[in-house]
Amino acid sequence: MSDQLSHAEHQHPSVATYVTVAAVLTVITLVEVGVFYIPTFHPVLAPVLLTLSATKFALVVMFYMHLKSDSRIFTMMFSVPLLIALAVGIALLFLFGVFTLGGGGA
């Protein structure tokens, strides 16, 4: 049965894991907003915020979308287009001069 097949693919995380992930996501969001308002962090704002955002993204995808425990095929079907989108985005930013190879921004 296809429905049973789906459940055979992986074991879902427990409710406790779901709640823990939600708590971590909330804390990270609070840190993001805090970092935004604290002038001390402004020189490193971009790398800090991008790291925090990537962590939240990974937590949702791994635990709520079950890619951590699900078939690797699903991970491939998600990560390949994601990497293509990321590569195209970075290429466009170089093409339009937002990023430059000299390291400065436009």
């Binding site: 049965m1 296809s2 429905d3 049973q4 097949l5 789906s6 459940h7 693919e9 879902h12 409710v15 779901y18 709640v19 992930v21 939600a22 996501l25 909330t26 969001t29 993001e32 907003v33 935004f36 308002y37 704002l45 971009a46 915020l49 991008l50 925090l52 955002s53 939240k56 993204f57 949702v60 995808v61 709520y64 979308m65 079950h66 078939s71 095929i73 699903f74 079907m77 998600f78 390949v80 287009p81 994601l82 293509i84 989108a85 990321l86 195209v88 985005g89 466009l92 930013l93 339009f96 937002v98």
Partner: protein, 192 residues
């Protein structure tokens, strides 16, 4: 009706495989919209600019609302998997309600911006901002309708543990909408 066994060459459910393919295509859609926003960022020749108009406290709350909706969604999946019809309905309705709250806050934000002189035609920021966040909001609206459909199916007694895959796929869509917002919140609102 009892589901009929389907043997697939991958050993995976074809509906889920197809939906992951759809999510992959959505990555490319939102990737292009976010890239366009970034390419035109800071190139508006007239205001209002992001620094003048974006409301971080309001958007932080709406981000929290969307994150909590993802929690409600997985709790709905856990409930339907264990055959708990009452809590399946509660969490599906909670997810839809939080999604509607997010949409209400976005509608308030958009209305405020229009009153402050930022429309889709005002400048490059307005064009790219409204297209990106509007497309995301449309996805949230579709998700809310989908969740309400599942809620009605549950009320009709047609959403038992044997149909958990339907809730799981709804959840995949909902969580994808959530991760897109995680990126938009950082790129558009926090990184200036």
């Amino acid at each position: 009706m009892t589901a009929v066994a389907q043997h697939t060459s991958t050993g995976l459910d074809n509906r889920k495989l197809g939906f992951w393919m759809f999510i992959g295509s959505e990555c490319l859609l939102f990737g292009s919209l976010i890239s366009t926003y970034l390419v035109y960022h800071g190139r508006s020749v007239s205001g209002p600019t992001p620094d003048e108009i974006l409301n971080i406290p309001l958007t932080s709350v709406s981000t929290f609302v969307l994150l909590m909706s993802s929690l409600a969604m997985v709790l709905a999946l856990a409930a339907v998997t264990r055959g708990d019809r009452l809590w399946t309905r509660v969490w599906l309705l909670a997810t839809a309600g939080l999604g509607l709250t997010f949409l209400g806050m976005q509608a308030y934000e958009f209305t405020t911006f229009v009153h402050e002189g930022l429309t889709i035609k005002t400048n490059l920021f307005g064009s790219t901002f409204f297209v990106l966040t509007g497309t995301h909001g449309a996805h949230v609206a579709v998700g809310v309708l989908w969740l309400l459909t599942q809620f009605v199916r549950s009320l009709q007694g047609k959403l038992g543990p044997e149909k958990a895959i339907n809730v799981e796929i709804t959840g995949l869509y909902w969580h994808f909408v959530d991760v897109v917002w995680i990126v938009i919140f950082t790129v558009v609102y926090l990184l200036r």
